[in-house]
């Protein structure tokens, strides 16, 4: 029998190579790709793009993100639609950031400490954080848990025969008092008061958290996804995998709701966390895409630096058992 050992198992080919080299040129024009990258890549366009992007993100930030979440950045001329690859328009590329799991923030002890510092400070911190993140990424928080509870109650009402077999999470009871109270108030009226309160404590003992929050807010305000967003074109059949799960305590009602829902999050084709179609020959589109991706990465880096600072603070201030269990989509 002939041996297969030594038989070549890979080859290189190019399809729409002009788009790849246009992308390389666009990266050079905006200062991300350099002649050194070209030399390091051995004149290979794919390696050039990869190395230039990695250097632009920086190794420290890549390490930070990899410790907290599984993001994949991909630039392609086709998109996966209902399991099939569909080509984009001629001369178009798409930058996709997809998440394979979910970051994790346990914020209950933080809110308690902030509330002890001044009443309302914890709630202000929480609301400002979640509302800034809503602008940029999907997160899973108390709002999603409330929606899950409501759906379960609706299912039970429509299934009278088996209604007694349904279990309902009691989300409101599981919230810290400062959040439960704040649910009843008008957010529009309190938004400026919350910001003033946070500003007053910018130099206090929790100032570094507030500065991180302010940085997230700044980037979120500047984040504009101006390109053609595939999520609006019916390409995907479910929302993105959340980039962050925010619970108040480990194994609380929000974690329980997430664990139920997350079992099905990867069954369909979820929308990416970021998807922007652009033409590499159009400098305006390249620049707006670069800006959007840069803000998205910056927000995530600030967020996960905040998460790690909070974890370190909790390690110093609370001698707690930190078993998070073997749960499906939560980042290790």
């Amino acid at each position: 029998m002939p041996k297969l050992d030594g038989v070549p198992t890979s080859y290189d080919h190019e399809l729409k190579a002009e788009l790849l080299y246009d992308l390389c040129a666009a990266l050079v024009h905006c200062g991300i790709g350099t002649p050194s990258h070209w030399k390091e890549s051995g004149a290979n366009g794919n390696l050039f793009v990869r190395q230039a992007l990695r250097d632009a993100i920086t190794q420290d930030r890549l390490d930070l993100l990899q410790r907290n979440i599984e993001y994949h950045l991909n630039i392609a001329d086709v998109v996966d639609r209902f399991g099939d690859e569909r080509a984009l328009e001629v001369n178009e590329l798409v930058v996709l950031i997809t998440s394979g799991n979910c970051g994790y923030l346990e914020i209950g002890a933080v809110l308690e400490a902030l509330e002890q510092e001044e009443k309302g400070l914890g709630a202000a911190f929480y609301w400002e954080l979640v509302h800034s993140l809503y602008r940029v990424m999907r997160i899973y928080d108390h709002t999603d848990a409330f929606m899950y509870e409501e759906r379960q109650r609706e299912y039970a009402e429509s299934d009278e025969e088996n209604a007694d077999q349904y279990e309902f999470p009691e989300v409101e009871k599981g919230l810290p008092e400062c959040i439960r109270t704040a649910l009843k108030r008008d957010r529009g009226e309190h938004r400026y008061a919350d910001r003033r309160l946070l500003l007053r404590h910018r130099s206090g003992q929790f100032g570094s958290w507030i500065e991180r929050l302010r940085s997230i807010q700044r980037h979120a305000r500047l984040y504009r996804n101006r390109g053609k967003d595939l999520s609006e074109s019916g390409y995907y059949d479910s929302p993105p995998v959340p980039s962050l799960l925010i619970v108040f305590k480990q194994h609380d009602v929000i974690a329980a709701c997430f664990d139920e829902e997350s079992q099905y999050m990867l069954e369909s084709v979820p929308e990416p966390a970021l998807s922007i179609v652009f033409c590499p020959n159009n400098p305006d589109e390249v620049e707006s895409t670069r800006e959007a991706v840069a803000h998205f990465i910056a927000i995530n880096c600030e967020l996960f630096q905040l998460v790690e600072e909070i974890q370190a603070w909790e390690g110093q201030h609370a001698n707690r058992h930190s078993d998070r269990g073997e749960l499906s989509l939560r980042a290790a």
Partner: protein
């Protein structure tokens, strides 16, 4: 040959030249095969066989299953 470091302008000119160059014949053939579902299925089957049977430390193929009758 390892490329030497060139200027930004030279790199842009090189990239423009590559973007405008017509694809080579073998490249076009590969692209045609990759667009063909049957070719992709065959390539996948061969790749799986290679992964299963190529082992530098023990390159022997596994014995045939009982369902395959002897040749003689």
């Amino acid at each position: 040959m390892e490329p030497c470091v060139i200027s930004k302008e030279e790199l842009l000119a090189l990239l423009a030249e590559k973007a405008n160059a017509p694809p080579s014949g073998p490249n076009e053939l590969l692209v045609r095969h990759l667009k063909c579902k049957e070719s992709r299925a065959l390539a996948e089957a061969i790749a799986n066989a290679v992964r299963q049977y190529v082992d530098p430390s023990d390159p022997r193929l596994l014995p045939p299953p009982e369902i395959l009758p002897p040749l003689a």
